[in-house]
């Protein structure tokens, strides 16, 4: 950057036989100008809608701001209250269960299905497209479908009854509501992860598999000793986007159960939303948002490491 500033300016730089160094620094200056011009709009957007608001949230988290009226400084009060808020502790537990119990089965099932599906062919292409249908449908649409499937007299209810299991209030009973949500989410995301895994498998060197097959390695052993290690990067990638996605998942709980019954499905984003826009406790919600944003920033950095990955190999 200092080079750019030291570069000779004005018409002198345009003299035909200038020294190599001068010509290069003139080009650098033009490059810098173009770079700034091209990235300025995005930079401005980021500053206005991400950076400044984030700083503002940090400030609000030290106040009792309530959307209406002034923000009074309360120091660390909001953060202290985070520590002994039983409702928040419930939300953390609920979010942890939701994340683990939706991510693990989806990823495992997706990997299992991707192994045979990665083989090229018309049938496999169709099957992959079929799996992708729920993934592409809007969440609002799939939520309505599942609300009706879980409704009294809906498909889930009548099927269970038909099997002699009696009637269950799938979304209204706090013992089952979370699992009902998880079933929908697994159904929704499976196709996405299958797609990423098949792309990963298709990118692998087929020779390795063939060598293993010639070795007479059994399918299960091939999977654990060859396929899985080679797919490590893809698996990590899927896990990171699945976990960051699940932790910030808002719509399923908002549309299917509104966090109920008895807060059994009140995930963190929903708790944040309710505090900020339901109870208008903006200061408190800001403190929670700051903590969660820091957690997400760490996960975001992890995601980048995975995306960039491979350098350590």
């Amino acid at each position: 950057m200092s080079l750019v500033r030291a570069a000779p300016a004005g018409p002198a730089a345009r003299v035909a036989k200038r020294p190599e160094g001068q010509r290069r620094s003139a080009r650098r200056r033009r490059t810098a100008g173009a770079g700034i011009t091209l990235s300025l709009p995005v930079a401005a957007f980021f500053v206005v809608f991400w950076v400044l608001p984030f700083c503002n949230t940090v400030y609000l988290s030290f106040t009792d701001y309530a959307l209406a009226g002034d923000a009074n400084w309360v120091g660390l009060e909001n953060y202290r209250r985070l520590l002994d808020d039983p409702q928040l502790h419930n939300s953390i537990k609920v979010t942890a269960i939701y994340t683990v119990c939706s991510v693990v089965p989806t990823v495992a099932l997706a990997l299992l299905a991707a192994l045979p599906l990665a083989r090229p062919g018309k049938v496999n292409g169709l099957l992959r497209a079929g799996l992708l249908v729920p993934a592409v449908m809007p969440f609002v649409a799939t939520s309505i479908i599942w609300v009706i499937i879980y409704a009294d007299g809906g498909l889930a209810d009548t099927t269970l009854d038909g099997l002699g299991g009696g009637h269950i209030s799938w979304l209204g009973d706090e013992r089952y509501a979370m699992w009902s949500l998880i079933v929908m989410v697994v159904w929704k995301h499976l196709g996405l992860f299958v797609l990423i895994f098949t792309a990963g498998i298709q990118g692998l060197d087929r020779d390795v598999f063939e060598a293993a097959a010639l070795d007479g390695a059994k399918a299960v052993r091939t999977f654990f000793s060859i396929t899985l290690p080679l797919l490590r990067r893809t698996l990590l990638f899927v896990l990171v986007i699945a976990v960051t996605g699940a932790m910030q998942s808002f719509i399923p709980a908002y549309l299917l159960t509104q966090g109920g019954p008895a807060n059994a499905t009140e995930v963190l984003p929903l708790y944040l939303y309710n505090n900020a826009f339901g109870f208008q406790k903006m200061g408190y919600a800001s403190a929670l948002a700051v903590v969660l944003l820091l957690v997400m920033l760490i996960l975001s950095a992890a995601q980048f490491r995975v995306l960039r990955g491979g350098e350590d190999e």
């Binding site: 770079g35 400044l52 609002v140 649409a141 009706i148 910030q248 998942s249 719509i251």
Partner: protein, 271 residues
């Protein structure tokens, strides 16, 4: 590896079964959407075919208006994001300029952030701009995505440098090199980004819900979310609405699956 015939037959059968089970909810949606008032909620059998009438009933409300707003939001955000991300992503990948590392750091830092976590700060700023209940308030904060900039940057790293240098030797300025050489080469990545952003905004419930209090600005997701309370137990109309909102994404997928896959697998596959 050449798996045996039995292996292939068994796995194909199992996967076909899985796909069929996965499509049951979609089938239920269509069959209930086609039904009349006296819907059988299970949606296993078709009870008549009243789809056209149901669609008319759904649009008889404000659904036409919501559809228009959804299209405005999705297209605007996708267009702006593509245009701005193309420029910044290219600059980050191929040009040296002061502040480059800082901008890239910001992009990386916000890569995993989803609307629920940042809605409070965004809401406060949009409110102080006086943009509540405006299109620009719904569009602008969504219009630049870290993912978009990142996606274009990754793609732009793969553009052969000779092509850019050839244009420079011909005397083209850097902006011209971007516009005439790089931009056309970036097209696959931009199409992917357009598709991903369109789908994301088409399904965006939270942000419009916060910004648009005025019913005239509601989008389809808000309309659908409040449908339950307005139409009580009119399940066949709810399913019709779900069907309507699902059609555009499914059509897009059918046409552009290749680009969708490219976006999803970004970075997940070793090059």
């Amino acid at each position: 590896m050449t798996p045996s015939r039995t292996y292939r037959i068994v796995t194909t059968a199992a996967l076909t079964l899985l796909v069929l089970v996965m499509l049951i909810p979609v089938y239920v949606m269509v069959s209930i959407a086609a039904a009349g008032d006296d819907t059988d909620l299970r949606g296993i059998t078709f009870n008549g075919f009243h789809l056209a009438g149901n669609v008319a009933d759904v649009f008889g409300g404000s659904f036409g208006r919501f559809l228009a707003n959804s299209l405005i939001l999705s297209f605007s955000v996708a267009f702006i994001d593509v245009a701005l991300s193309a420029a910044a992503g290219y600059a980050l990948a191929r040009l040296r300029f002061p502040g480059r590392r800082l901008l890239f750091g910001t992009v990386i830092g916000t890569l995993a952030l989803a609307p629920p976590m940042i809605m409070i700060p965004m809401y406060v700023i949009v409110r102080s701009l006086g943009w509540i209940d405006t299109y620009q308030g719904m569009i602008a904060p969504m219009a630049v995505s870290a993912l978009g900039v990142f996606l274009v940057r990754q793609f732009a790293l793969g553009i052969p440098g000779e092509l850019l240098d050839a244009a420079r030797v011909d005397g083209a300025g850097e902006l011209r090199v971007f516009r005439t050489v790089a931009f056309p080469l970036l097209r696959p990545a931009l199409l992917t980004l357009f598709l991903l952003q369109f789908l994301a905004q088409w399904d965006n419930l939270l942000w419009p819900l916060l910004v648009a209090n005025d019913r005239d600005l509601w989008t389809l997701p808000i309309g659908l979310a409040t449908f339950q309370t307005e139409h009580g137990t009119n399940y066949h109309l709810m399913m019709t609405a779900a069907l309507i909102i699902s059609v555009p994404p499914l059509l897009l997928l059918a046409m552009l699956q290749r680009y969708y896959v490219a976006g999803l697998t970004l970075g997940g596959v070793k090059k």
